[in-house]
């Protein structure tokens, strides 16, 4: 306890200069909405930091296909900050397309073009995927060069083997059932994809920090992959259970009550996958951002309060980051496990089991 207090006091002392540095901006009110959503939202450029009031950001390519006949346009996101490029500009905050690229139709209304821009999240996805490929293919390379029957990997390869074995033995083998080998590449890819993206989302600076798995489009695609895997490879028993389940006849004819519920269930399962991952990661980001915001919110309350609360915020931030690392793993684990369970349910064959 005494040591804890010492660390706390020391931290407060270290953080004392912070409010002094922040002093010139004292008249600037912190826009909490902009601060929170700006960090978790997708954007056309990758904002790294702000030096002396000037934002430092990495420009990313904007790719749009005009709906008013302008064709395909590719340009740097730097032009958007300067006001627009060939009729394309970012819609103002009172527009229904606020923050997105729009073009102005001849009648003066805003039209949303086909927008395939490489946004911050796309860039994050590319970087994280590259890291993932590097790690997994690097691990696979070791096995190609060594005889795994004679040697046991150490270090990073050993860690990867441990993780892969854990996911395969604990999740895939148990949840999918006897023909798990067919699905194990997909489930392993999903696990490591989510895990790497979650972890990179916690890293607060470039190349991390993109809120990839906290974006609903990303989790939607992941959920759709599971959805199609389940329904394309589902067996006869799976479809019979949906369309003609083992319930009293009046529940399925003439009014197909149970089949309707089951068909709804087909979609709620991946929907829950999508929302769970999205909401957990987004909430984690919000929590960390909120804790850090305490430092800036208390900047005007004097050095003592600000320093003390900054120390609290840093300690809480450390705790939150640790928690988020845990959540990053748990969510990847849960997504993989539930996907495996859904696949396993679609592969069940009670007749074969009873025999």
């Amino acid at each position: 306890m005494r040591r804890f207090v010492n660390v706390f006091v020391l931290l407060s002392l270290f953080l004392l200069p912070l409010p002094l540095l922040a002093a010139p901006d004292e008249d600037v009110e912190l826009d909490m909405d902009e601060y929170l959503f700006g960090h978790v939202r997708d954007s056309y450029d990758w904002h790294v930091t702000t030096i002396n009031g000037k934002p430092v950001s990495i420009p990313l390519p904007v790719i749009v296909i005009s709906k008013t006949g302008g064709g395909l346009k590719v340009f740097s996101s730097r032009h958007l900050e300067e006001g627009g490029y060939e009729g394309f500009r970012i819609a103002p905050s009172d527009s229904k397309y606020a923050g997105k690229i729009v073009e102005i139709a001849p009648d003066g209304s805003e039209v949303r073009p086909w927008d395939f821009s490489m946004t911050k999240n796309v860039a994050g996805l590319l970087i994280n995927s590259a890291i993932l490929l590097l790690i997994v293919l690097g691990t696979a390379r070791w096995y190609r060069k060594h005889d795994a029957r004679e040697e046991v990997p150490t270090g990073g390869v050993g860690l990867m083997e441990m993780l892969v074995t854990m996911v395969e033995d604990d999740i895939i083998k148990d949840c999918v059932g006897p023909d798990y080998r067919k699905y194990s590449p997909y489930l392993l890819t999903a696990f490591f994809f989510i895990f790497v993206n979650n972890l990179m989302g916690i890293v607060p600076f470039f190349p991390g920090g993109a809120n990839v798995t906290g974006n609903i489009a990303v989790t939607l695609v992941l959920a759709l992959f599971t959805f199609f895997t389940v329904n394309i490879f589902g067996n006869k028993h799976y479809w019979k259970d949906i369309l003609w389940p083992d319930v009293p006849t009046w529940l399925k004819a003439p009014l197909p009550l149970m089949p309707l519920i089951e068909i709804l269930g087909m979609f709620t399962k991946p929907f829950s996958l999508m929302v769970r991952l999205f909401a957990n990661i987004l909430a984690g980001h919000f929590m960390i951002l909120g804790v850090v915001a305490v430092i800036f919110l208390t900047a005007k309350m004097g050095i003592a309060i600000n320093g003390g609360l900054s120390a609290v915020a840093v300690l809480l931030g450390v705790f939150m980051d640790c928690l988020e690392i845990l959540v990053a793993f748990i969510q990847a684990y849960v997504f993989t496990m539930l996907s495996a369970v859904f696949i396993g349910l679609s592969r069940q064959d009670p007749e074969a089991e009873t025999n």
Binding site: W114, F116, L133, V136, A140, M160, T189, N215
Partner: protein, 171 residues
Amino acid sequence: MSLITPDFGLLVWMTLIFGIVLFILAKWGFPMITDSVQKRADRINGSIKAAKEAEEKLRNLSEEQARIVEEAKQEQGRILKEAAESRDVMVEQAKQQARDEASRILDQARTQIAAEKENALRDIRKEVAVLSVGVAEKVLRKDLGEEVNRSGLLDRLVEEASSNRDAKLDN
């Protein structure tokens, strides 16, 4: 960009990127790792089984060994017993032979002694006869000198001597 409405562009990109990542990893990534780990697991299981079998064999071998040692011990005991028996028989035989030999030698000696005694007696008897004749001759010569005429006496003496001899021979 709203938080809960999926952005179409990002959907396309995500599908593309995840699809490619999935394809690459499913083809060159994870199967390589999982197969290798599976192979190792199989090998370890096989090794454990082989070790168990070897142990079993070893146990059988030591049982066999113990059995052989036991047999050898029994054989040893049997041979020792036989040796002792045959030794006893041989000693007995030797004793018997020695006894027989001894009695044979004794018999021989006894016969020889008896023969020697007979010879000695015969010699003594001959000597006594010669001495008696000598003595008688001397006596007779003296007596005959004095009373040569007394032939009656000579006859009596001869008779006496011969009857004595007969009596002795009868004995």
